[in-house]
């Protein structure tokens, strides 16, 4: 808009409002007289201004005064406080809020880091300790018998599954099938190495599970022609290692049926004694042995301990453990069940739980660390050591199969920990018994042939940590912790026991070269 146009518009506006000076008015009226359309426009603009001026006058609503009075009262109450200050309070800066939010975020992240890294793990982390074959297993497995062993195991599996009679009727259940499959593997191993039998508690079949955490015990089976001597040596070993032990119901794995029953038995034991604490002198035995039996074992252990002072302590510990074993009422149903199962197998096993020569198996239950368990296993595997002067063989294939199966069926996948075999690097002829009692641990070489006791360390299940103290940190250690406490069941079994009852019908696709699965002396 040009300056001239603005001036003209200003004069016209003033003329409409009758505020133009006389000279300007005369000049403009002269122009309007010559231009009637402009005169008409001025009249319209005057009427427009009149319309606006004549608009009705609106009164303020009562709420205006009321609202303002309310505000006025508030200001009176806040006498002494400047309104500007009050307004400033209402308009507080936002940066303190931002700082507070940032601080809260940082604290939350920091706390999360502390909880994740500093605090011990919880039950959400799988606590699995797995005793796996030591690296020498490759050599042991690389025998010619491996392939035949696999074939036999397949054969046994198929054959057993086809047997729908009698005790194997429970094969229709996954637990039963797995248990029999495990038994078949044990039997096949027994066939390959007649004096060595492998039994593996089947975690996937829920057999042989017990304990508060539902962990699977590690079962070590010692086959010996002289079970009494083997039992005595075992006790000595445990005493020397300061491992508290207690007699336990043996998993009757003399055949497939008995293995299944053993699974049931141990499963019941796990249910009955699920909450027991089994460590130390205050533990409660699942089965209560006769006191004289324990004392007998202790007496058998003491004279053979030699000059080592620690052995006496171990024996005292053993006695203390014995004296601390209260009779548990909860174990009675389990003993009855064991009696029933054994009687169903036609075995005269009513020995009151006292391990004796008459009892086919002598089993003890103990808790030991994974390192101790591997050491014991290595001791059992070492030929010419422990109580067995003859080279012992171990069915590594069975162990590997069990490990693989367990790893495949047990989430999360448990990586076999091969670091738990401290004796793996030991020479085969090394006597792993503590040097404090060499005479007691190792029989004279001359008596080795007579005893001809052979041991088998059965397949080792990935065993969950069952801590002595459920609140201890060991219960939450990772699986590769050698200090993790395991439930271990050691079975001493005479080698003359029947170890297998083959299925009536062989698998159609069974290899023609498959050896017989019947142990010597057990042929029906």
């Amino acid at each position: 808009m040009s300056q001239n146009q603005e001036i003209i518009e200003a004069k016209l506006c003033a003329y409409i409002d009758d505020e133009l000076d006389a000279a300007g008015r005369a000049e403009l009226e002269k122009h309007l007289a010559a231009n009637p359309q402009h005169q008409r426009l001025i009249e319209e603009l005057r009427r427009t201004s009149g319309l606006v001026r004549n608009l009705p006058h609106e009164s303020a609503p009562p709420e205006l005064a009321e609202g303002f009075n309310a505000h006025l009262e508030r200001s009176v109450l806040l006498e002494g406080v400047s309104e500007d200050v009050a307004a400033a309070d209402l308009k507080a800066p936002r940066w303190p809020q931002l700082v507070a939010m940032a601080a809260i975020t940082l604290l939350t992240i920091g706390l999360g880091i502390v909880v994740y890294f500093a605090l011990p793990g919880t039950g959400a982390r799988p606590q699995i300790v797995q005793i796996a074959p030591h690296p020498n297993a490759v050599q042991l497995n690389s025998t010619d018998d491996d392939q035949s062993s696999d074939a036999m195991m397949r054969d046994v599996d198929k054959s057993v599954k086809k047997d729908e009679n009698g005790a194997l009727a429970s094969l229709d259940t996954p637990a039963g099938a797995a248990g029999v499959a495990n038994a078949a593997r044990a039997l096949s191993a027994d066939h390959l190495i007649p004096s060595v039998a492998a039994t593996q508690p089947s975690a996937d079949s829920n057999a042989l599970r017990f304990g508060a955490s539902g962990s699977s015990p590690v079962v070590l089976v010692m086959h010996s022609n002289n079970p009494s001597e083997a039992r005595r040596s075992l006790v000595i070993y445990l005493v020397q290692q300061n491992i508290a032990w207690e007699p336990a119901q043996a998993p009757p794995v003399t055949d497939a049926l008995s293995l299944r029953d053993a699974g049931e038995l141990q499963n019941k034991a796990g249910g009955d004694a699920g909450g027991r604490q089994t460590a130390g002198a205050g533990e409660t035995a699942a089965t209560q042995p006769a006191p004289n039996a324990v004392e007998e074992l202790a007496k058998a252990a003491v004279p053979t301990t030699g000059p080592s002072g620690s052995i006496g302590g171990g024996a005292s510990n053993l006695l203390a453990a014995k004296s601390a074993m209260p009779a548990s009422a909860a174990t009675q149903p389990m003993a009855d069940e064991a009696k029933r199962l054994r009687s169903s197998d036609g075995e005269a096993t009513d020995t009151g739980g006292v391990p004796s020569i008459a009892q086919p198996d002598f089993s003890i239950s103990c808790k030991m660390t994974a390192e101790q368990a591997n050491a014991l296993r290595a001791s059992l595997e070492q030929p010419g050591t422990f109580i067995d002067p003859l080279p012992a063989e171990v069915d590594r294939k069975t162990i590997a199969d069990a490990t693989e199966k367990q790893a495949a069926q047990t989430p999360p996948p448990a990586v076999p920990d091969f670091s738990l075999a401290p004796a793996a690097s030991a020479p085969p002829t090394t006597n792993l018994l503590p040097s404090a009692a060499p005479a007691a641990a190792s029989p004279a070489p001359g008596s080795a042939a007579d005893q001809s006791a052979k041991f088998d360390v059965s397949a080792t299940q990935p065993a969950e940590v069952q801590s002595e103290n459920l609140t201890s940190a060991s219960a939450t250690q990772p699986s590769n912790n050698p200090a993790a406490v395991l439930d271990v069941v050691i079975v001493v079994r005479p080698t003359d026991q029947p170890t297998i009852q083959p299925p009536a019908a062989a698998a159609p696709d069974a290899p023609t070269t498959a050896p017989a699965l019947i142990a010597p002396g057990t042929q029906p």
């Binding site: 518009e9 603009l45 606006v52 303020a60 005064a65 609202g67 505000h71």
Partner: protein
């Protein structure tokens, strides 16, 4: 209420007392000006609720800024400055054209409206006071004017209200709006032109 000293306007006396801390005096000032200020704001914004809120806000800000009143202008002019600034700011913020109850009148309605006016004149001469039809017509016209005002820009609306409703002189308006006097007059002329274009149907004859 105390009588103000002779020669001192009552509103100025109240404002001085309010500045001295007498909040009741400011309350009296509010009662004195609330209708006028509300009406002016209502013509500016066109909405009663919004006018009510803005008027309260203007009085509140006046109370908060009592110390800024130096007496160069009338207290109402001082309050009106606060109110008109709030209203223009609000109108610019909303950025919308006010739509009032009446739509823009159709061009063809001029003749009929003239006939109605003639009839109204006859009716008025025949009787005493406005007839109901006259009152309805007046109400309709007022609503049309308000609607036309609402369709104008905020700046045009402000000068029209200040001049034709509030009766401010050019100098006051120039001071309130911070405009040169010639610019203010030119804006007022243009505002009237714009409103005339909106109200052609009511300007015939």
């Amino acid at each position: 209420m105390e009588t103000p000293p002779r020669g001192v306007r009552p509103d100025i006396a109240l404002l001085r007392k309010a500045q001295a801390g007498d909040r009741a005096a400011y309350g009296q000032l509010v009662l004195m000006y609330q209708d006028r200020l509300f009406n002016a704001v209502l013509r500016l914004v066109g909405d009663r609720d919004e006018a009510l809120e803005l008027t309260q806000e203007a009085f509140t800000r006046g109370l908060m800024k009592l110390d800024t009143f130096r007496g160069d202008s009338a207290p109402y002019t001082w309050l009106f400055r606060i109110a008109v600034n709030l209203a223009i700011s609000q109108l610019r913020k909303v950025q919308k054209q006010r739509v009032f109850s009446l739509d823009r009148p159709l061009p063809g309605a001029t003749r009929a409206r003239a006939d109605d006016q003639a009839q109204a004149l006859v009716d008025r001469l025949a009787g005493q006071g406005p007839l109901p039809s006259e009152r309805a017509e007046q109400r309709e016209r007022d609503e049309a004017i308000l609607a036309a005002l609402g369709r104008l820009d905020a700046e045009y609306r402000a000068v029209l209200v200040m001049r034709d409703i509030e009766g401010f002189d050019y100098q006051q308006m120039a001071e309130l709006l911070g405009l040169p006097l010639g610019t203010l007059k030119s804006r007022l002329f243009r505002a009237r032109l714009a409103l005339r274009d909106e109200l052609r149907a009511y300007l015939g004859g």
